[in-house]
Amino acid sequence: MTITKYINLLLTAIQNLNRFKAKTIAVVLPLTISMSVISFMMFTRGGFIKDTLIAEKFLPDITVQSTEAGRVAKISTDMIEKFGGIPHIKKIIPRVWGYIPLNIDDTDISYTLMGLDLDKIDYHKHLPWTLEQGFFLTKGDKNKAVLGEGCALSLNASVGDTLNIEDTLGNTGQFKLTGILGNTVQVYSTDLILVSIEDARQFFGYKKNEASDLLIYVDDFQSADKIAWEITTTFPNTRVLTAKALTNLVIEAFGRRGGTFQMMWLILLVTLLLILWAQTAHISVDMSKEIGILKATGWLTSDIIIMRMMESLVIGLTGTSVGILIGFIYGLMGTPGISGYCIGCASIYPKFPVPVHCDIQSLLILSIMGVVPIMVISALPSWLAGIIDPDVAIRK
């Protein structure tokens, strides 16, 4: 009996929404837009975070750089021997890298030239998939380079071409292009010019025993923090970053970026709530008469309040569910138009499939944020409508 009563109240509430279509659309539409905006931002953020969490397993366990006067400086590869005495260290790979600041079509761009120790790096079994053209660097390669796709597109370079790089001092480097990394991996590689570590040393003027950083791989993941701590305390002039720390930083970065969007969204939601308040607080003469008749025919004040609250619930659920769906689809489409903001700071944004992910917590938050404020804001107007005196209302 009780369920039947509530279903009837729900049906009446829906009929009311259908009768006042313009009013309903005026609230549902902005709510849908508002929810889709916050949804795609949360889902895109979730996608990058999920990717980052997966990446944690593939990152070097510890990255060590040298510091000098508080700044990051070159690190001596002699440190490899010193670190070698620390238990559980499996492998240490030196890496040389630096920025190549360029001005292309009046836009300042900074590419990264990275020198890899081709004798020591682990070639992941899926590495050939990442190449759109040509081949990756192999042991013994000299004066050869592999480009990220963004870099290759900006320079209009293809496999077989030769890159001629000259720094501000006139030092030059010539690299024959052997491969171009594909679109899918642009998120990590779009700005890269990959060369052998010897070529990078020569171009940047590093000595044979110098590197930019050392990548440490341990045989026991659990001991990474302990080893990092040991390196920090034993070698004070080092900057030690664990894979976990790097992962946390990326997660936090996307949290901040999401936070900015949440502020914008909050303004949108408050505006929407004000519209809803204006609409529900104003009870027209017709509506007033209707409520009067309903009460005269036996409806209780609580029934009127529940019916009005159900109207808000249906509006909230419709706007929220459709908004979340649109936001998710927009995210799956790669957030066209604003992907740059979602990805990060850059004046040229790589175009690549943006990972999208939503977890139960995000869904719950979105549902609460979409429905609860609408219910709360309509509570007082619903009560005001419920306490209308039927006699006075009918005589209006």
């Binding site: 829906i14 999920k50 990717d51 990446a55 990152l59 990255t63 700044r71 990051v72 890496r95 890298w97 920025y99 600041p101 300042d108 761009i109 900074s110 590419y111 990264t112 990275m114 890899l116 790096i121 682990d122 992941h124 590495l127 998939w129 990220g148 963004g150 370079a157 077989g160 071409d161 030769t162 001629n164 790089i165 899918t184 991996v185 998120v187 990590y188 890269l192 950083d213 970053l241 790097l246 930083l249 990326v250 970065a253 901040r256 249906v314 419709t318 569910s321 459709v322 979340i324 769906l325 799956l332 990805i343 990060g344 700071c345 850059a346 004046s347 040229i348 790589p350 990972p355 999208v356």
Partner: protein, 112 residues
Amino acid sequence: MFKELIKEKYLSTIFFALILFTVLYIYNDNITTSYNNSKDTQMRMAIIETLGVPALPIISQCCTSRNLVDGIYARRSELPGGYCFHADCDVAVTPNVIAEKVYKLTVIKKDK
């Protein structure tokens, strides 16, 4: 009575949205973003593992990235592929504000 409820377009819209979302969610979670099933994810991880890159690339230099008082966040650009964490970088990084000298990079086409 339940039939009447389902016939109501508001409720059917909600149900439709929820069902479609669930289908997309399951597909996305198990196929698109899963390491075991997604070729895209496997490719991204192959790059990370081979190069040891920690994060997203910074393509344009950020004026604030050298600000030492910002500690590790700003100095993240001192990692290859480092990512500047300033939320307002889109404002800070505009063309022609960087006073650094630029390198020269030319491409000699293979057929020349």
